[in-house]
């Protein structure tokens, strides 16, 4: 394979280029000012299958609202609306 230029990597299938969707903070965009800890369905969007809080890089929320989300989730867990640990909860 003398002809192979160095550093030229050929993939079996073309690498899928992730279309860069810019994330936005839904609380800023829709002007939501308060996150209610009493309705668990809304909070399910911010926790993963095991019931853990999703990081900001995945949900795209701003720091200020991530803290409010974290506090709301912890309160919901305290009054047993959301489990502390769960398996395939969604």
């Amino acid at each position: 394979m003398a002809g192979k230029k160095d550093g030229e990597i050929r993939y079996l299938n073309p690498p899928t280029v992730e279309v860069k969707r810019d994330k936005y903070c839904r609380f800023l965009k829709y002007g939501i000012k308060f996150i209610d800890y009493k309705d668990p369905d809304y909070l399910l969007a911010f926790i993963n299958e095991q019931g853990k809080l999703l990081p900001r890089r995945l949900t795209g929320t701003s720091l200020k609202y991530q803290r409010k989300v974290a506090q709301a989730v912890k309160r919901a867990r305290h009054i047993a609306l959301i489990p502390y640990v769960a398996d395939q909860m969604k």
Binding site: K33, F34, D36, Y37, K38, P40, R75, R77, H78, I79, A80, L81, I82, P83, Y84, A86
Partner: protein, 116 residues
């Protein structure tokens, strides 16, 4: 007089009458000290996300009330001592929370016509 919101869970072992009596008991306690109960909500028997004191469901109640701060310590003490209550959470309401609670109440009273 700040505005507070208290959610508490009563054990499912209680009969309907005992449950109502417990709720009335706390309402009287808040009123006795000059507080004002803005709204009362009874979510009824609900399944808990994890068992509390070996029980897997409980009567949920929500109180929204105005009281002076000194009352809160006594209220929480009362919650802690009362063995009918298995879990409670009192939260101070800021202005966003208050506006949210009002819109939530109007939404609950006359739910929006379901989008056809």
């Amino acid at each position: 007089m700040n505005q507070y919101e208290a959610v508490f869970i009563l054990t499912p072992v209680l009969s309907e009458a005992q449950m109502k009596e417990a709720v009335k008991d706390y309402e009287k306690f808040i009123k006795a000290d000059g507080g004002k109960v803005v709204s009362k909500e009874d979510w009824g028997l609900r399944k808990l996300a994890y068992p509390i004191q070996k029980k897997s469901n409980g009567f949920y109640n929500l109180f929204e009330f105005q009281a002076n701060p000194s009352l809160i310590a006594e209220l929480e003490l009362k919650f802690k001592r009362d063995e009918r209550v298995i879990r409670f959470l009192t939260v101070k309401m800021d202005k966003f929370h208050i506006t949210y609670a009002e819109t939530r109440r109007t939404r609950l009273k006359n739910p929006k016509p379901a989008k056809a």
